[in-house]
């Protein structure tokens, strides 16, 4: 009881109370400025696009204030995307148009080609491949920044936020700041008594206020208002917090987009595992199986030599057996390599051990930093391992680096693999390239791959994976 009382009495003097008051006071003019900026810019599409960075800056300012004053930490939304624009040459323009239109793209004929706007080239290629539509040429054009900005969902949400915030903010300012000011005013009312022309104040039931003594009747009212002010201010920030979380944060993809994303990644998983199985079969067929056939041939011939002719040509038999022996050893080595490619046994002891083995086997010196207090799920460990292997192989093959760093850090919910090298940089994912394939594989478990590789280096590739697939 005394604890609660103390909390109530101390509330007006806490940092939170003052911070929230400051928030209520500062953000109203901010919302006003934002609205004044936004409304005239709603006139046409070009202005929507042109004003998008400005609107986003207002959003960023609001997030900053909410973080510092309300402790409401909302991450920034996805950056503005350019609007993809691809020219496609296909003998089957009509069915392709129908397909991409169904995905929300806009299509215009352009001479012998069709121009498809709003879908990235990779997605168009996937759609065409699914329906076996031949594509003779596909040229991504200079993408439109303005069109992307016009349609940016995060920006439209920010516009909506400021529209609502202006009303909520006006109410908050009046209620919150009014309560504080009123409380202070009444608390100190006797001091103002001379100035405040008490004869104009009429309270129902008497004229207490016209005397100095009577003016002290307002002091408790001021105290109550001041004690209530922090709670009221806090209450008026609640809808604002919800609005900021809902409208100024990262845009959650619509369910249809999520479904499309899952369809794509699932198709990739299926293709990828089929391709891996094909690869394993090829390796077996060309490698160990061929070795074993050769071995059987040599042993068959040696057996014949020993049984058919009398006396047996022992030198020749010895040579055949020697050849067979060599074939057997080669087959064993190939099987071992193949088995390791399917599942690295080092992973059984955890990712850190497996990465240590990997780093040690790498062609160039690799500094290894691991911090994996808890093991991620097996599928994630495997993807992380193969990502690291692919990235280190890329460094050795393409970067010209002399040194690389492999970092693996697991915090609850997130496993980050990062490979940094001191090579020449300029790494880009190309279709059918290793990095692109890796990005696709990582995406299948809702992970992401970031490449930071300016020309001249250094290159830093980061793979982020959820702890559990």
């Amino acid at each position: 009881m005394t604890g609660a009382l103390r909390q109530i009495l101390r509330a007006p003097f806490t940092r939170r109370a003052w911070a929230e008051l400051a928030y209520v006071i500062i953000t109203f003019p901010l919302a006003l400025c934002a609205t004044v900026f936004i409304i005239p810019m709603l006139a046409n599409g070009v202005l929507w696009g042109a004003s998008a960075p400005g609107v986003r800056k207002f959003g960023a300012a609001s997030r900053l204030l909410a973080r510092t004053l309300l402790g409401e930490d909302v991450p920034a939304p996805q950056p503005l995307q350019r609007y993809p624009y691809v020219r496609v040459r296909t003998p089957k323009a009509v069915p392709l148009t129908a397909l991409v239109s169904a995905e929300g793209a806009r299509v215009r004929p352009r001479g012998q080609d069709i121009a498809i706007m709003g879908l990235p080239a990779s997605r168009i290629a996937d759609l065409a491949a699914e329906d076996r539509i031949a594509i003779h040429a596909m040229r991504p054009q200079r993408t439109s920044w303005l069109r992307g900005a016009m349609r940016d969902r995060a920006t439209w949400q920010a516009r909506g936020y400021f529209g609502l915030k202006l009303q909520a903010g006006a109410f908050g300012l009046v209620a919150g700041a009014g309560c504080w000011l009123g409380g202070l005013f009444f608390l100190t009312y006797p001091a103002w008594w001379e100035l405040a022309r008490p004869d104009t104040w009429r309270l129902p039931g008497g004229n207490h206020l016209v005397t100095l003594a009577g003016s002290f009747w307002l002091v408790p009212l001021g105290a109550v208002l001041l004690l209530a002010a922090p709670w009221l201010t806090h209450a008026v920030t609640l809808p604002d917090r919800a609005l900021i979380r809902g409208l100024l944060g990262p845009v959650t993809p619509a369910l249809t987009e999520r479904v499309r994303d899952l369809e794509q990644t699932r198709a990739h998983v299926v293709d990828d595992s089929a391709a891996r199985l094909r690869g394993i079969e090829r390796d077996l067929h060309d490698g160990a199986q061929a070795q074993l056939v050769a071995l059987a041939m040599k042993l068959g011939l040696a057996k014949d030599k020993l049984t058919d002719t009398a006396p047996p040509d022992l030198t020749r038999v010895a040579q055949l057996v020697d050849d067979a022996h060599r074939s057997a050893i080669e087959a064993i080595a190939e099987l071992r390599t193949l088995a390791r490619g399917i599942h690295p046994t080092a992973l059984d002891n955890g990712l850190a051990d497996a990465l240590a083995t990997l780093a040690a086997r790498s062609a160039l010196p690799v500094e290894l930093i691991t911090d994996i207090p808890e093991r991620p799920s097996a599928a994630i460990e495997t993807i992380a391992y193969f990502s690291a292997a692919e990235l280190l192989a890329n460094v050795a093959k393409h970067s010209g680096a002399r040194h690389a760093t492999l970092e693996a850090v697991h915090v609850p919910g997130l496993l980050r693999i990062r490979v940094t090298d001191d090579g020449r940089g300029g790494a880009t994912p190309v279709p059918d390239g290793g990095l692109r394939g890796l990005a696709e594989r990582v995406r299948t478990v809702d992970g992401r791959l970031d490449i930071d590789s300016p020309a001249g280096g250094p290159t830093m590739v980061t793979v982020e994976l959820p702890s559990h697939a």
């Binding site: 070795q291 056939v293 050769a294 041939m297």
Partner: protein, 214 residues
């Protein structure tokens, strides 16, 4: 015999060459892909070509398609398709033109050098040499199962051995019966399959074709 080998795995190519040379045959060319095979056959006109099914560039059925082309263009050249897997469709494709001068063996069979050389000799001489697994696979896939269902179990055994390309004597040895008994079975097979009496070799081929469903 003069032989061309087409096989993309160098180690098997070398092994085959070694075995054939050892047995006194002449390997006139050993190549690694289908185009080189066609060129080599056109140039050397060998008695038999040993052809791997999967070869560069696509590693699917290049060898088989080359083999079919060779059968069309050079009927005198026997074809022994040599594969790590049994694909009954491939065998049916090969047999669909003529039944003779063709063979389809699993690579494993080469371990038994004597039988392998026998098979090549049969193919070079216009006979057939089908791997028992190919035969079993074709039996399962046979579209003529109805006409074959009239055969007794023993007659089916005999027919299977005929399809592998064995002579009556070899069949008799294999089944441990007399030559006379084998001849009796074969004539029963001919009549049950409705093959008119004519040149016995021709009927033999027809029976095998009925059996293989091609």
């Amino acid at each position: 015999m003069r032989i061309v080998i087409a096989e993309d795995a160098a180690v098997i190519r070398a092994g085959l060459t070694e075995i054939l040379t050892d047995r006194g045959h002449e390997v006139v060319a050993a190549v690694g892909d289908a185009e080189a095979l066609k060129a080599a056959v056109a140039e050397h006109r060998p008695d038999v070509a040993i052809v791997d099914v999967r070869m560069p560039p696509d590693h699917t059925d290049e060898g088989l398609r080359a083999a079919i082309a060779i059968r069309r263009e050079h009927p005198g050249t026997g074809i022994l398709v040599f594969s790590q897997y049994v694909e009954t469709r491939y065998a049916a494709d090969l047999l669909s033109m003529r039944a003779g001068g063709v063979g389809y063996l699993l690579k494993d069979r080469v371990a038994n050098v004597g039988e392998f050389i026998d098979a090549i000799t049969r193919v070079a001489g216009g006979g057939t040499a089908l791997d028992p697994e190919v035969v079993a696979g074709m039996l399962n896939a046979s579209r003529h199962a109805n006409s074959l269902s009239a055969l007794t179990a023993r007659e089916r055994d005999v027919l299977a051995l005929m399809a592998e390309g064995r002579s009556n004597t070899a069949i008799a040895e294999h089944l441990v019966v007399s030559d006379r008994a084998v001849e009796k079975h074969i004539s029963n097979i001919f009549s049950k399959l409705g093959l008119p009496p004519s040149d016995s070799d021709h009927r033999r081929v027809l029976a095998v074709l009925a059996y293989l469903g091609s």
